[in-house]
Symmetry: C2
Amino acid sequence: SRDLCIDQAVVFIEDAMQYRSISHRMDAGSMRLYRCYYSNACQRILNFTIFCILALAFIETPCSLTKTADVRYRSLHWEPPCGLTEGVEGLCLLVFMADVSVKGFLVGRAQFQRNVWLLAYIVVLAVSLVDWTVSLCLLCQERLRIRRLLRPFFLLQNSSMMKKTLKCIRWSLPEMASVGLLLVVHLCLFTIFGTLLFTVGEEDEHEKKERLTYFQNLLDAFTSLLVLLTTANNPDVMIPVYSENRAYAIFFIVFTLIGSLFLMNLLTAIIYNQFRGYLMKSLQTSLFRRRLGTRAAYEVLWLPRAVLTGGFPSHRVGVMPQDFLQVLEKAQLSSSQKQAIMEKVRSLDGVLLSADEFQKIFSEVDRGVVREHPPRPCYQSPLLQSAQFLFGHHYFDYLGNCITLANLVSICVFLVLDEDVAPSDRDNFVLGVLNCVFIMYYLLELLLKAFALGPWGYLSYPENLFDGLVTLALLVLEILTLAVYGFPYRGWYPEMRGLLSLWDMMRLVNILIVFRFLRIIPNMKLMAVVARTILGLVQNLRAFGGILVVVYYVFAILGINLFQGVIVAPGNDSLAHDNGSAPCGSFEQLEYWANNFDDFAVSARGPLPHRDILEEPKEEELMHRLRNHPHVRLCR
Amino acid sequence: SRDLCIDQAVVFIEDAMQYRSISHRMDAGSMRLYRCYYSNACQRILNFTIFCILALAFIETPCSLTKTADVRYRSLHWEPPCGLTEGVEGLCLLVFMADVSVKGFLVGRAQFQRNVWLLAYIVVLAVSLVDWTVSLCLLCQERLRIRRLLRPFFLLQNSSMMKKTLKCIRWSLPEMASVGLLLVVHLCLFTIFGTLLFTVGEEDEHEKKERLTYFQNLLDAFTSLLVLLTTANNPDVMIPVYSENRAYAIFFIVFTLIGSLFLMNLLTAIIYNQFRGYLMKSLQTSLFRRRLGTRAAYEVLWLPRAVLTGGFPSHRVGVMPQDFLQVLEKAQLSSSQKQAIMEKVRSLDGVLLSADEFQKIFSEVDRGVVREHPPRPCYQSPLLQSAQFLFGHHYFDYLGNCITLANLVSICVFLVLDEDVAPSDRDNFVLGVLNCVFIMYYLLELLLKAFALGPWGYLSYPENLFDGLVTLALLVLEILTLAVYGFPYRGWYPEMRGLLSLWDMMRLVNILIVFRFLRIIPNMKLMAVVARTILGLVQNLRAFGGILVVVYYVFAILGINLFQGVIVAPGNDSLAHDNGSAPCGSFEQLEYWANNFDDFAVSARGPLPHRDILEEPKEEELMHRLRNHPHVRLCR
């Protein structure tokens, strides 16, 4: 029974660290399954499956693996053989079926029936399976695949943060809708105004027709003004009537002021406020889950024990550090967190831990582990010591930055100088020599820094890692270039040997050098702050990114179904003089041939709650929740 | 001496109510001048002078009073005779000279020398005068007029709120500049990347040339990406390379993500934060000025006096209400404020006012005076009473709104029906009759409401005022139409009689009806809130509006000086088939002929500080300031 309690504490602590709910089965067998399900391997398999099923859209008919999307130059789509993508999809669906059954089993029947997401998961899976069977029966010849539209659901249901964001969007819909309504009223009124103002009287027809380009009828006027809200057609829509009478500009100024400046910004402000409040609240829930988990672990671990207070024996309640250590040993936490907690517990040497102290240990860990760099190597010789001081100093970094900047400037100078020379006539001698010299310096810098900080010390700085990797890539490229094309000489013209031409090699080297210039970011204070802010934003906005991916995905699939093949490549004769024949602003004149509906954008996924300045949950709330938990009582 | 103190108190209270500084001369003569200077009449003259000198730009050569700005259709500019605008300008400058001398005299020599704005005022006036003299000497033939660029200064210096805003902009410049620098670095790096990525190799020339439309050289690439930051050329800039290889889209996606989404929004957030903080601080200063003014008034008014506390005579210090009333009687405050304060003071019947009570009376007034509507008339007859109940009920308003909506719909229906009919062939019979009926209803509604609420009660609601005015205008128009064109009959075709054709009359009526539809705004809760928010914004953003006017003005004048006459009307032959010959996207093809540099936008002025949730200034601070004031002591 004591072992079961220890195991339960392990599960509770893992739940707490991952901000998971503790409402699930807690018997020995279920716990083994639970820990296995939430183990890194299983979760990675699940994530990979979700990635696979989403990525399938790139390979399925119509396949997106052509070099260009331009209907004029595009090669024929590769048709995957029937059964290939369906086979992969079948495997994915199998994994999801296993996922939903394990999840359903673990949360128990009562929780399962209340969980809308799990029920929806089953429905989506069932529909997908039926659709998949139909697909196979029709030998992949069916036009409509409903299951493609449903796929983003698997991404949604697997992320608690994305579910929260979705709920938040649903909650702010009424407010957004009311400002949306205002916008519509604003648009409608101005549409009627505009149509009445800019109608053609009984005067000269030719001149007046022009005035009506954007205000022919109510629908045209509405569309024009709707686009004007985004300022996309800003001067154009005004030009015909403005060139008639300059007072007409007032109409457009008033419209833009009210619509774009006030109402659109009001919408932004409302969305911002709603989201901030709601996200704060949902992060609070995450924190509450963590507190609940740790408290539950405490509840199953505590033991009464006699202690000496002021020479008299008395009873005190608490967790024994050795129990705690045993739990920590078993729990799957990140190694740095585990290390920090265990050191803390060991430093208590045998004193019972109260509930408060127990909680405190976990909140301490959350403050973030400061990463320490390995110590610098100690050299004996004073010469080596002064060299170490010199090359380990941050002025040496600045020198490196200056040299990188000089390299960048040299590339720019050659870009400007060779602007009018055809690429095949360019003499790469000087730039080749310069790049050679610079790359030698970069290598030297790398070695000297590694000498000064020690190899591990060098690698412990992320900026050095970046720097080193790019430098090594540069070195490899340069050696390859020299090996294939020999040392630079006057008239080192671009020519083709092997995989890449000298021209492309040089471009690649130059691009890498520009890329290497990014190492200055941590050296400039402001840039570092902004870069860190942006990285933090990306972290915190991952859930939003996920929602965006879902929306993009659904619209891309819808677009393919609706508009595939609508854009047809122009005939040969119109291709020859398309600029002359097509009216300005038309699809043909703008050559938007690559803008069709045969592919779509998808990007990475991954949601994790972050922690902000949140209120601490109250003790009573925690205890109230725990009193209703059936498994915590078992251990008492 | 007591009279002088009363007068000083009057001036202090006026200063307080207008948030003015109290550091100025306080002897009897100066005070008379001061009150005269800040009287409504003098300030109106000054404001009108500023308006005049700014508005001169419309009339001066090149005169903006043509109907259209289109170089193809524009009539010749009217040339004002030499001396006309210069005469007006001379008068304005005379007023400003009087203004600066009065201001300088009133603040005293010490203050004057420390006041940068006043010194700059004198310099600007001197330069303007010299320039004006040169103009007159050259008989208005000079090309460059520096004084036109300096004119917005008169607007700036006359408004304390605009000066504060300007200071705020100056303070936030460093932060903005640093993010601006980041943007520049971002742009530069991507420019070099882009130029290296999208260069032409040694392949087929024709196909590749196209790829280089936007990335020919460093400068072109920089411009393209700079415009891409605003998303103005969003798909176009990407199309040539994207149609070559779809992977190139990643370059543009990353650029837009970092540039437009992160850095631009970061800039907005920084500006927002800086301004909020600084404006709050400067509004605090305004509040402090008010407190200081009222406290100073208290200090010159208080008298020691024996009062009975608990049956024993004791001394208490305070202001006698009759003195206060005397001061209020003399002070120039808005009548509603004055009324409220005087009632408050009278209700104290003779008790001495302490400093706190004195301050409190003024802050009470600031809370806003609730406007009361006059009582409804009382009718004797029960029939009239029930009619009054019926037509005074807000359901009657709703009925009116519904009828207005119906009218709007009928106009829309006719707009759609007559879409394809030439205006001269349209039969206005049905619409004419409908409008007639509706206008009769509007008149009836007006009369019934006036009957129910009484004439003054009716006018006390701003929405009724708006409604009534528009209805009256509609009535006048309708009567005019009927008088000139007779009653509507089948085939009531538009024709020309008198000033306006029937067609134009009908349009005007329709536009007014759409305009009248705005009366629904106060009836819809959300709309009313948004409308009030927008009105409040307009009030509070007046200072920013003023700064914008200044910037627009200066750039408009600069534009005229630099680019006047650069855009030349096309010859007759190119006018005939301009769409065919001009390349797409060019000035000629887009017919931007009206976009030249011969006129500019100017708008209203007027700054007043508003009051937000501000901290109250501390008692000690006030007293510390007053202790250093030379004139408050005189009365003690």
